[in-house]
Assembly symmetry: C2
């Protein structure tokens, strides 16, 4: 690219040489790919302010060099930190990590893209603000803004994250700054309190798109409640989950279950505590049925585990527990974890000491604590363990500290079909993909999350050994087959990695044509992340 | 307009002559204006199907004649059925009033723009679906889709209406059909269950805008609950409302108050039961303070009335009542209305007969029933009474049947500032507008609604006598002064009438520039509602 050198000179002048990365050592982390398909950036720029982003975008337009913005670059399983194509310069916003404002009374924060889950959680604790953020299982070092713009979901009543955002600040390809909602009016009192503003509501445009670069947004926070109780319901029989889903749907709709409810299959839960026993099974996955059953028996895991958090005053939570027992008590084994119970467990663990039972109880208490923490917006890296299922080295010694599945060479692809919140759809999706995973020789990890009151967001993971070229090729085939089969059956993904963006477009779909027209209007040079959620 | 005659010929061929209106008698109802500023359409077209809309839009492009779409044309106080400017043909979608689908299990309906509140409520009752829709106070004949696209709000937990929509079908200016969310994928199972789809979320673009014509959408419905209880809290002292707002905010945030909470001042409540006593006060408004106080005393109305609905199982509602009493019991007089209480009241009314007390009790019971009905999505025209405050003839004899403030010549303008959900902001907004209403000689009707967990949507009404040219001119001045003062103080409106659309743009605001660029991309000829929420 002829323009690259003069562009780099200009950017070095703007940012200083230390924040313009070009050496292969510096670029390597950005190329790490859970999909085993690294894409090399031309360079990496690390701006520290909105103004620097504006200047970079303007010059990128002049030099006609596309930019690929990322927050902290931890979009694992969906493209990681890779640009959407070759010939792009990464705009790494990780250094823009200021918490610009918090409001105790109205319960929100204004944050930049580099703010991580751990950082905001720590800030709230430090400032003793009686507020919780929503948190995903992707660990402490991930970006809140990045996940929101990918329309990720979390674990709390604020887990439908798109609904808890107001007032975005965006750099357009022209270099102009767009503020959404009321934020573009002088002195607007409700800039971060009312998302829509007046006139067309534009926020949705800047999620799963390449229309602009969000440099800050208002994030609503949840006022702390007196009680949090984490429900874990174990469903023994595979087919029984359908009745459980149907019994929980009315409770999700009426707010008894105000948080995002997660349903994991046995392998999903198992993979949180172990990796594939490669020494024992050198032929690789899938886990033979007897062994799988044995592991589940040992760990006390049913075919499905339903996980949800209850919030409120003591009377509300007690009522919710009663209601849940009445709804699914005969279909599942229910446990409720709260701080009192954990304290008791901790005592028992200490009393029993280092013996087998004591160790097991301590492990259970630690897991319960992690779950309860996540319900209160305190992230935990342990929930990333599943990504390491087929990694040759297993979990890194320092895990979960600094866990990074891409850098650690984990092989992982995610399928994320959305389905009606109905038991029969869950079983149908399973029946569609299960034979494909079996044929291709992979363990099938399944989560179905009640992302809103009417839909399940499925996350099906293919874990593979990146060091095995054949297994990697099989993983791609398995992914492709499952993707097409699900889409053909009307189970469309809520989110995709770069490998599937083109496949979203049938070629005669006005939706993608409209997306292309908006792109041409806002970014005629296609400077920002060309191809990202933009099949035409 | 030279092209009009050939266009009309084409449209008559397409729709038949009866659905192409051009006579002044036929056009008159569309010109009726609560703002006393009628705008004449060139003609009115009444399509009955999506296909007809497509054909009309295509031909409008060919003939270069702008179309102004409306649902049922009852956007009272915000432009009524008037086009956004002269030289436009109205596209009246009122005849497209099919309920295309309802789903009992997943609780939604798919409706066209002509579907009215009464129609959907009637359909749900007829089909014995255990679902309630959200309902506004604008009466039985108003369009659900029209209100949603204007981002109106209602009275139930689904009152933040934008959050309960998925899957729009839109005719673009090109004549192409855009389906949003997952609806554009073949056989999508979650087309009406998950709004975002995959890729940029476009729904917000088609609200408060002129980018396309929505011909149907999926509307989420609320599963019926065992108990509904309507809270009416009367706050005696004017300033005490601030503490009430601040005490209710945490309960709105934690879901104890899951519905939209409405706070009305004394005049707002009074105007539901009487019109301005013009015979007694020929000099016109405002109502003298002593008389106002006397009316309030007679009707038992405090300075402010807070109105909210509680939903759930008996234990949940009982807990919510207790919590509300604890929070504001010392600041306000609380009453809870439920079906049991109304049955008792009805008995008492019958027993007391036609005497003064009996009549008063019956009136109270009827009002209570209307409120409870509205909480369950059954619309009631009585809440339109306020619009008739300055109408010379008072309420029409058949009121509330067929109430139509525009056709009935009511003079009314609405100011709709959004403010932080804080007592001090409510008082501040009041203090900004109160002197202006006094100076211009108008009664100040105020409602502040907790449209979400962090913001109040204010609705301040100027009622004026349209037959009095001087009062009408004063109303305009008062509106303008209040609009500017509120905006200057950072209280930006959530919605405006055509008179204020230009005033939303400072001239150097990237937001409106972006809106203009999207307009040019999607509708380069400006065929659809030019000028509507489009100041540039």
């Amino acid at each position: 690219m002829a323009n690259l050198d003069p562009a780099l000179r200009a950017w070095r002048l703007l940012l200083g040489p230390a924040r313009v990365l070009t050496s292969s050592t510096d670029l390597a982390p950005y190329m790490a790919s859970t999909a085993a398909s690294p894409v090399a950036p031309l360079a990496v720029l690390r701006p520290l302010s909105h103004g620097e982003v504006v200047a970079i975008v303007r010059s990128a337009g002049e030099f006609d060099i596309p930019l690929y913005p990322l927050s902290t670059g931890r979009n694992w399983g969906y493209g990681d930190a890779n640009p959407s194509g070759a010939g792009q310069v990464i705009l790494d916003l990780g250094g823009m990590n200021r918490i610009l404002e918090t409001d105790r009374e109205l319960a929100y924060a204004v944050i930049e893209p580099g703010v991580t889950q751990a950082q905001l959680a720590g800030h709230l604790a430090e400032q003793q603000l009686p507020l919780w953020m929503d948190c995903t299982g992707a660990g402490p070092d991930t970006s809140l803004v990045g996940n929101i713009l990918e329309r990720g979901f979390g674990h709390t009543p604020y887990g439908n994250r798109m609904l808890h955002v107001a007032g975005m600040r965006i750099v357009l390809a022209s270099g102009d700054t767009l503020e959404t909602g009321f934020a573009h009016f002088a002195h607007a009192s409700a800039a971060y309190l009312y998302p829509y503003g007046v006139g067309p509501w534009l926020d949705g445009l800047f999620t799963q798109s390449n229309f602009g670069i969000v440099t800050s947004l208002g994030l609503w926070l949840m006022p702390q409640t007196e009680v949090v109780s984490h429900m874990v319901a174990s469903v023994a029989g595979f087919g029984a989950i359908a009745a459980v889903v149907d019994a929980l749907r009315p409770l999700r709709m009426d707010g008894t279950l105000s948080s995002v409810v997660h349903i994991g299959n046995d392998l999903r839960v198992l993979s949180g505590g172990m990796v594939f026993p490669a020494a024992q099974l050198p032929q690789g996955p899938p886990l033979p049925p007897q062994l799988r059953a044995e592991f589940c028996r040992q760990a006390g895991i049913g075919a499905w585990t339903v996980s949800a958090a209850l919030y409120g005053r003591p009377a509300q939570v007690a009522d919710a527990r009663r209601t849940l027992r009445a709804a699914i008590g005969r279909l599942a084994t229910l446990r409720f974890i709260d701080e009192k119970m954990l304290a008791l467990g901790r005592l028992a663990g200490r009393w029993l000491g280092q013996g087998k039972l004591g160790t097991r109880i301590s492990a259970q208490v630690n897991l319960g604590q992690s779950l309860l923490n996540m319900n209160r917006g305190i992230p935990d890296g342990r929930f990333l363990a599943g990504a390491y299922w087929r990694r040759r080295g297993g979990l890194p010694p320092e895990f979960p500290r600094g866990a990074n599945p891409a850098r650690d060479g984990c092989g992982m692809m995610w399928l994320a079909p959305v389905l009606p919140l109905r038991g029969r759809d869950l079983l149908h999706v399973h029946s569609l993909v299960e034979p494909l995973f079996a044929t291709h020789g992979f363990d099938l990890f399944e989560t179905f999350s009640m992302v809103n009151e009417r839909a399940l967001g499925g996350v099906l993971t293919i874990c593979f050994d990146q060091e095995d070229a054949v297994e990697t090729a099989r993983a791609r085939l398995c992914y492709q087959a499952a993707f097409e089969r699900l889409k053909g059956a009307g189970y469309i993904p809520y989110r995709v990695g770069p490998q599937s963006m083109k496949a979203l477009d049938s070629g005669h779909d006005t939706y993608w044509g409209t997306v292309a027209r908006i792109k041409d209007a806002l970014d005629p040079q296609h400077i920002i992340a060309p191809g990202r959620y933009q099949p035409r």
